[in-house]
């Protein structure tokens, strides 16, 4: 699984960070999403998909 973040869209709501803290963080400077792991382990799939779902601006997606 590969995670794709669109930092342009991100509005720094933080939902991905509380949903999947191993994969997402926020940049101290602008509050926007930072990808900690680009290709997370399969066992994180469910929570990563949940982050994709709760992101308010569709800034997150996954490939395969």
């Amino acid at each position: 699984m590969r995670v794709i973040v669109d930092r342009e869209r991100c509005v720094a709501a933080g939902s991905c960070v509380i949903t999947s803290p191993a994969v997402f963080d926020q940049n101290d400077e602008d509050g926007k999403v930072v990808l900690l792991i680009g290709t997370p382990d399969e066992k994180l799939r469910e929570e990563v998909l949940e982050s994709v779902n709760v992101c308010p601006v569709a800034a997150l997606s996954v490939a395969d």
Partner: protein
């Protein structure tokens, strides 16, 4: 207006807000019917007679709130305005963050957001715990019965906001008086003079922090603005006021209503007392279940857009029912049941969706976690000291809340 007939299934739009019969904590019963039979329906605001579309389905609400063809501009004649605003000033004064559209909205919002990130909010947790403990110490030493609203719901966010913004000790009383006025019914003169005083206070604070930066929110905003943005000092002041206006009353109400919901569900309260480490999930479910900000999330269409199979025309207003969305059985099984273990609770839209989603939601979430786990742990025998139907709920308010919540133990 003849073309409205094509899209309008009812000659008579429903008066809005809908009547809430039964328990004052439950959503208006008609929401469930509309969601099934007419998920995009016509309503007429009781406040000012304006007509608008009402969305009651979770998917429709999320779709509309991410669509850039809908605007938050309250000066637009089609905007479903639901609060008093001097009409002669509409379109003349600068809009607050909540009423801006991109690119202005993006510039202002992204100034503020780094201050309210998950990490920043976590750093505030120990101090929040101290504040909550002090409030509960005061409740315990007073002895029951006490009013939970004035002893817990009001001081926790008020002290928290004061310290976040960096209001100095000697002006704290003025600040608390102002935020208390925001949530109670003072006279127009009281409001006007408190507003003027706070305007002065923020003005002085900004001037002072420009010279002597500290580690408070205003100093950080000024520092970020100096390197990245070109907002005026007046814009910074407006941003801080917008944050307080959007954040204070809603958090006060969130604490009061959440505490009441827990008192009405003792078996759920027992579960939370036993699982304080899952308080984030519990707060998600309490936010979903109570959806205290039901219909303040509104937009106006800039172009013709189809939502839920209906054509919304350019210039028409749209009201999202966040409560109806959060009780949509397509997303939340047994939606009228409070279940703090509910997995899908995170998907609630109690804080809105799209680019205006609540800027303070991580802060509220942390504050509510600390408040509810501490309250249940330190006063395990807490109970309501009045009948539910005697409680003074805030009537006709945009955000559900209580004027008082008598409790004892």
């Amino acid at each position: 207006m003849s073309d409205l007939v094509d899209t309008c299934p009812h000659a008579q739009p429903r008066p809005f807000p809908l009547e809430r019969t039964g328990c004052p904590l439950d959503p208006a019963p008609e929401y469930a019917v509309l969601r099934e039979t007419e998920p995009v329906s016509r309503v007429k605001l009781k406040f000012n007679g304006r007509e608008a579309w009402l969305l009651t389905r979770y998917e429709d609400v999320r779709q509309m709130l991410v669509d850039p063809r809908f605007s938050s501009n309250m000066a637009d004649p089609g905007y479903p305005l639901q609060f008093a605003f001097p009409m002669e000033l509409l379109g003349k004064v600068k809009p607050a963050l909540l009423h801006m559209d991109p690119p202005e909205h993006t510039a202002h919002r992204m100034m503020l957001m780094p201050e309210l990130s998950v990490k920043r909010v976590e750093a505030m947790r120990p101090r929040t715990q101290e504040i909550v403990d002090e409030c509960i110490d005061a409740m315990l030493s007073h002895g029951g019965p006490v009013d939970l609203v004035s002893m817990l719901s009001m001081p926790v966010p008020s002290i928290g906001m004061c310290e976040l913004v960096g209001v100095p000790q000697e002006s704290a009383d003025l600040f608390h008086r102002w935020v208390t006025l925001l949530v109670t019914q003072g006279s127009a003169e009281e409001h006007a003079s408190a507003n003027a005083e706070v305007e002065m206070l923020l003005h002085q604070l900004i001037a002072d922090r420009q010279k002597n930066p500290g580690d408070d929110l205003i100093s950080s905003l000024l520092k970020r603005n100096a390197t990245e943005n070109e907002l005026e000092p007046a814009d910074i002041s407006a941003l801080v006021r917008a944050m307080i206006a959007a954040g204070h009353e809603s958090t006060v109400n969130g604490i009061s209503v959440g505490a009441l919901v827990l008192l009405q569900h003792p078996e759920q309260a027992d579960w939370l007392r036993a699982h304080p480490e899952l308080s984030g999930q519990a707060v998600d479910e309490l936010s979903r279940y109570s959806s205290i900000s039901d219909h303040g999330t509104v937009r106006v269409a800039l172009e013709d857009v189809e939502i839920g199979g209906r054509l919304i025309r350019a210039g028409e207003g749209v009201i999202c029912s966040l409560s109806a969305s959060n009780h949509d059985p397509a997303v939340f099984k047994d939606p009228n049941t409070l279940d703090l273990t509910r997995r899908e609770a995170r998907h609630n839209v109690a804080f809105g969706f799209g680019r205006h989603q609540c800027a303070g939601q991580m802060l509220v979430r942390m504050q509510l976690e600390v408040v509810f786990t501490t309250l249940l742990r330190r006063i395990p025998g807490l109970r309501l000291d009045a009948a539910l139907d005697e409680l003074p709920f805030k009537a006709n308010a945009l955000i559900d809340g209580l004027h008082e919540l008598p409790v004892t133990w």
